[in-house]
């Protein structure tokens, strides 16, 4: 089995709002897959469909080779889930919750539990009501990461964690990747996905807009160029694929589509280059482009090029 998760054409409506509108998602076995989208894009709903908690109105979903709705309890032994909004039972201690959830899954690795408690700096003796949001998140994370399972489904797992703990989380996931575990990581924290994920699916308004490796996605995007020139670079703005040009006192700054990069650089060399910096697009930029409410990326290109 090479695919841990395959969802095609998922549709789910809650009353009049369409939470999922033909969503596709494929996660290969053994990869860390980033699942990106702004709040309300349908990430949590997709995950609930994959967990058999919510039934899709249309589309198909396969999880670990089974039907997530029909085979829910059998499949759940093989996965661990951290919800986006962790609430604990007020009168149970964190340690009790970790053990209980582990036992209700496939079992718990005691050494790993102790190790994770230390790395996340979590006191397991506190009662559920006494934990802060970040510490509740840690309880759920330790329970999931110490569980003996092949698939982790993490819904915005670092919300509420401080930067130090985010770092600890990244380390742990990085180590897990070596163990052949599959991870579905939903997030809107782009640096996290960039640092951790092999492949990414970006969704918007219940629909998949991009999917692929980070390198593949960058193909679709632009490079930012800053250059200091010896002479004037006339005609640069007229080149196809060059956007947002700013020129002042021999300095130029623009974005260029990857396909037009060669032509733009030739144009610069002709003018005489004294200094040059280029930056690959960050996921932030990818994100902003996809979720720019003014329209789809294609339309925007056309408008700016004109």
């Amino acid at each position: 089995m090479t695919e841990a998760i395959r969802a095609e054409g998922l549709v789910k409506a809650f009353g009049r709002t369409r939470a999922l509108d033909g969503l596709d998602l494929t996660v290969r076995t053994g990869e860390v897959h980033g699942f990106l989208g702004p709040n309300g894009a349908g990430k949590s709903t997709t995950i609930r469909v994959l967990l058999g908690l919510v039934r899709a109105d249309a589309g198909t979903a396969r999880l670990l080779g089974g039907d997530p709705w029909r085979d829910a309890t059998a499949l759940h032994r093989r996965l661990a889930y951290v919800p986006g909004d962790v609430t604990l039972w007020p009168n149970l201690s964190g340690g009790e919750v970790i053990d209980l959830l582990g036992r209700l899954r496939g079992g718990l690795d005691k050494r790993r539990r102790a190790d994770l408690l230390e790395r996340f700096d979590l006191d397991p003796r506190k009662k559920g009501r006494a934990y802060s949001k970040g510490n509740r998140q840690k309880v759920a994370l330790v329970a999931a990461l110490a569980s003996d399972v092949e698939l982790l489904i993490l819904d915005e797992p670092t919300s509420g964690l401080d930067p130090l703990m985010e770092e600890a989380f990244r380390e742990v996931i990085g180590e897990d990747r070596g163990n052949g575990r599959t991870v579905l990581l939903s997030s809107h924290i782009l640096a996290e996905v960039e640092a951790l994920c092999d492949r990414v699916t970006i969704i918007r308004e219940g629909r998949t807009v991009e999917t692929g490796t980070l390198a593949e996605l960058r193909h679709l995007t632009r490079v930012s160029i800053q250059a200091e020139l010896a002479g004037p670079a006339d005609g640069l703005a007229a080149l196809p694929g060059v956007h947002d040009l700013q020129a002042q006192d021999g300095r130029v700054r623009f974005d260029v589509e990857t396909g037009a990069l060669g032509a733009a650089l030739r144009h610069l060399t002709d003018a005489g280059v004294r200094g040059l910096t280029s930056q690959p697009p960050t996921l932030e930029e990818l994100f902003l482009r996809h979720y720019d409410r003014t329209g789809t990326p294609g339309e925007k290109h056309a408008e700016v090029s004109r």
């Binding site: 967990l51 908690l53 759940h76 039972w89 007020p90 201690s93 340690g95 899954r105």
Partner: protein, 530 residues
């Protein structure tokens, strides 16, 4: 007074949030009207009232429940019967204050407000203001209502203010305990224990001392009678209540000034670092979530059983005039009357136990809406197994609760009559025979949770309807067809009546069918449905 900035706004916020809950005020305030009517009807003459007062004075059960009557006038008897109200008023008052102080703090909303222009003590001050104001309204309402029944105005107001005084004292107790613990549950627990201790002191004092028990004086619950409404009117007792309230409120403010927002003065207790080996199934989790609720209900039912069972033997002594004696003879003599009383009490227990059954069942729904069901259902726990872990308590919990009441009542009554061997099984059976009707109510809550989760609290409406049919129906002479809607109408009257299995079997089958429909819905629907 910058520490009180914004108190007025918070008061308005509380009033807005509690506008429905505040209905307890007119409800409690108008209860004594029914005393006037019933005493007038049953004991129309001064002689009959004198006998009633004498008999009550010598009945340990009545003294425990209400205290000692200070006279045999209509007003004095009404004031005596109202002796139970300070307990209820005190309870509502302390719950109101804790709800708007520690509960808010625990939920983090206090912090949200604290960051706005709101003084350090404003939350506490607003909660105390609302609770005190509510009690003032209660005093005026009760006074006006009783004066409207033709009782003296001054005495009626004194009775109202006496009840409100208990509210003021225990509102301040709530304000104080809210400073002690980090959790609202702990604060409520300590405050309720204080209230219970006051009640026990009053009982002990009244039972021990003829007339003015010294111990009773220590209990704010008893002060309403010490004022002697409709009698000499010792209003200086109110100064005692006001003084105690002030001391408690000042102490609460002093404690509040010494601590951080969110922290309690008593350290939060730590739990175990690892789970006990037994905590590995949904049922063992449900036990942890339900056990304190169940224990509380069992204890409450046991106390009620002791008090009401203890009254049973003296019921026969209260009937003096000839007309009543005739009715008594037709009911099978004193034994028949006592059985009818016990059967009535058991019916009441059944209705109240249905409240527990609904509360336990709705935990299912609250687990879902608090998002705690989701992580469980994402493990190997199936939906029915999860639901079943809570439903076990809605089915078996009422058995334990009713058994506690039946055993306590049967044992007390048996000891009073020297007939434990016979009374315990009879009274216990009378309690347990209520179960099929209780299960129907639980099943309605299950069905709503499964099929119409957003409407799950409507199960309480079903119970309210049963209460209406059970308590008001016979008086209002509703048609049998209407009365038959309530499952409790079909429960045999026991002890004393003939118990037929047919209606019980039907009720169980109906309950099972309703519950099964709900579970079928639960299997199909989205979780969580918020």
């Amino acid at each position: 007074m910058t520490t009180l900035t914004g108190t007025g706004k918070l008061v308005r916020l509380i009033l807005r949030r509690d506008r429905l809950l505040m209905l307890w005020i007119p409800f409690v305030a108008l209860v004594p009207i029914s005393y006037v009517a019933s005493i007038n009807e049953i004991y129309p003459t001064a002689a009959a009232r004198q006998q009633y007062a004498d008999a009550s004075m010598n009945s340990a059960g009545f003294v425990a429940l209400y205290g000692r009557p200070f006279g045999s006038g209509l007003g004095e008897l009404v004031a005596w019967r109202a002796g139970f109200l300070p307990l209820i008023v005190g309870l509502f008052s302390l719950l109101t204050v804790i709800r708007h102080t520690r509960t808010e703090e625990e939920a983090g909303r206090r912090e949200l407000l604290g960051a706005t222009v709101v003084g350090r003590h404003s939350g506490l001050a607003a909660a105390l203001t609302v609770a005190s104001g509510a009690n003032l309204v209660l005093a005026l309402l009760m006074g006006a209502a009783l004066a409207g029944q033709g009782l003296p105005v001054a005495g009626s107001l004194a009775l109202g203010v006496g009840c409100a005084a208990a509210g003021w004292v225990f509102a301040a107790v709530g304000g104080l305990t809210a400073q002690l613990t980090e959790g609202a549950g702990g604060a409520r627990g300590i405050a309720v224990v204080a209230l219970g201790a006051a009640y026990v002191l009053r009982i002990a004092g009244d039972l021990a001392g003829q007339g003015e028990g010294v111990l009773s004086w220590l209990s704010p619950i008893s002060w309403v009678l010490r004022i002697h409404p409709y009698g000499e009117g010792s209003l200086w007792v109110l100064a005692l209540a006001a003084g105690l309230t002030a001391v408690l409120a000042v102490a609460a403010v002093a404690l509040s000034a010494r601590r951080d927002v969110g922290a309690g003065l008593l350290p939060a207790r730590l739990g175990p670092a690892t789970a006990a080996p037994g905590l590995r199934t949904p049922l063992s989790l449900a036990w942890r979530l339900h056990r304190s609720l169940l224990a509380g209900w069992m204890a409450g039912f046991a106390v009620l059983g002791v008090v009401l069972g203890g009254l049973a033997d003296s019921i026969g002594d209260l009937v003096h005039d000839n007309q009543m004696q005739d009715i008594l003879a037709r009911m099978g003599g004193k034994g028949g009357l006592i059985d009818a009383y016990l059967a009535g009490i058991m019916g009441l227990f059944g209705l109240i136990a249905a409240g527990y059954a609904i509360q336990a069942t709705l935990r299912l729904r609250s687990e879902e809406s608090a998002l705690r069901a989701e992580p469980l259902l994402a493990t190997s726990v199936g939906r029915l197994r999860w639901a079943g872990s809570h439903i076990a308590f809605s089915v078996l919990g009422p058995v334990a609760v009713l058994a506690a009441a039946g055993l306590a009542a049967g044992l007390t009554h048996g000891l009073n009559t020297g007939d434990v061997g016979r009374q315990v099984p009879r009274v216990l059976a009378g309690a347990l025979v209520q179960l099929p009707a209780v299960w129907v109510l639980a099943a309605i809550a299950i069905a709503l949770s499964g099929l119409l989760p957003r409407l799950a609290p409507a199960a309480w409406v079903a119970l309210a309807a049963c209460l209406f049919f059970g308590l008001v129906g016979p008086v209002a002479q509703l048609g049998q067809g209407l009365m038959d809607v309530s499952p409790f109408t079909h429960i045999p009257k026991a002890p004393g009546g003939a118990v037929s299995a047919t209606p019980l079997v039907w009720l169980v089958l109906i309950a099972a069918a309703i519950a099964a429909t709900g579970l079928a819905g639960l299997r199909r629907r989205d979780i969580p449905t918020l």
